[in-house]
Symmetry: C2
Subunit: 253 residues, 2 copies
């Protein structure tokens, strides 16, 4: 069953929002979904109302705690979570010092893979050791691309990084797709950026475009996905459509 890294070194582009909401809709469609929070900010963990606790991903990566012991239930149907904690901020250096830094997460998740239809790895906004671990553990990468000029600039660099990971540590790493986020139909900039991305990466860009929708940014304060917070919002419709598109391209169900 597929493991997807949701990654983009540009900050604030909708990685966490995509992991939680896409996971929730796939869970609602009957899939068993595991979300792995790889970010020391622990935003996926906080989004789902889960308190930071031990063991978290930090203990799995640095202390060898079995991943299955760190997995917790969430209030979202079909979705379980391997939570993060602030300690992950030190994991880059600590994993580097072990000498075998890049394959630790892949190994840790190996025993879990066949229990889930989908695994999503929420990456931090950097290309450090923890993100590289996620790119090595993943079968494919899902890249949220904010409809902003500065977000466009980093896309080519990210694709180069994925090429490098493919030729060094994970030969089978694919780009599963680019999903446009925070699209604001009132601005010319949004459509310019979306057009530019489709032009450069026509086969990789999802049909579904996630609109800017305040309900999406309100949901985390209620500790639940958009599906449980406001399923009739434009944001919810978009993530439902994205889940159907993902399920049709990567049947995990």
């Amino acid at each position: 069953m597929p493991t997807f890294a949701v990654a983009n070194q540009k900050g604030g582009v909708g990685k966490t929002t995509t992991v939680v909401n896409l996971g929730a809709y796939l869970g609602a469609l009957g899939a068993r979904v595991l979300l792995v929070d790889c970010d020391a900010q622990a935003n996926t963990t906080g989004f789902l109302g889960v308190d930071e606790a031990v063991p978290s991903l930090y203990e799995v990566l640095v202390e060898g705690v079995p991943a299955v012991d760190a997995v917790v239930a969430t209030g979202t149907k079909g979705v379980e979570l391997l939570p993060a904690s602030a300690d992950l901020a030190g994991a880059d250096i600590e994993l580097f010092q072990t000498g075998q830094p890049n394959g630790v997460l892949k190994e840790a998740l190996a025993s879990l893979r066949d229990q889930y239809s989908y695994i999503f790895l929420d990456c931090p906004p950097s290309l450090g050791v923890v993100t590289v671990n996620a790119l090595v553990a993943a079968d494919a990468v899902l890249v949220p691309v904010q409809c902003e000029y500065l977000a466009l600039e980093g896309l080519a660099r990210l694709m180069n990084t994925l090429d490098r990971i493919r030729s060094t540590a994970n030969p089978s790493l694919q780009v599963f797709g680019l999903v446009m986020t925070m699209y604001d139909a009132r601005t010319v900039l949004s459509s310019q950026v979306a057009e530019e991305v489709r032009r450069h990466y026509p086969a990789l860009t999802f049909e579904t475009v996630i609109p800017r929708n305040v309900r999406l940014s309100e949901a985390p304060s209620f500790g639940c996905s958009i599906l449980d917070y406001d399923p009739y919002s434009r944001g919810a419709e978009a993530y439902r459509a994205l889940a159907l598109e993902v399920a049709s391209r990567a049947p995990g169900l």
Copy 2:
């Protein structure tokens, strides 16, 4: 003259946008301003239309090139830039391996400080070695806080980190102020978050609130600050007001 780190580990909160536009208005008021791009994404560098080249901050930090040799002019009056490059992505590990990782930037900038009225350090969205270098090199921290729930969650953690830096590596590190960004007057969420921040940190929150304004996100595609792109926009007005507030609280002029 004051050196400010503009930092927040939450991604996409307006760090780069604040560094460039605040720098531009202080330059227009007659100050000599140096912007230091400490982010491997090199967004401040790209925003100002400067091509990545050697030497950049990477060569200054890792190869000991004098900072003055890496400083370049920009098209913005009164503003010079010490550019970043993608190589900075590796600097966390490389600086760690030198054994004296945290004071390198402070030393590198020491000889430049008296040539500028203000120095702003644009930090990456992480709390890694390069960000710690910036927090050690700085006299004070300016924290952009996006008016979003997820951005609020990380604020307490950032303040704890600043306490830790103050007690270990930089005893005189102050919090210069919190500036609310991307405030959307149409949403209840924005005012709730802004109220929450003012309640927790009343003395630290700037009067000026930066509104969400598409002109701010268009400016980087023209390679210039909002002052040169659209000085009559609401975004420009807000950064002009912020510059006046900063100048009155930290007279560098």
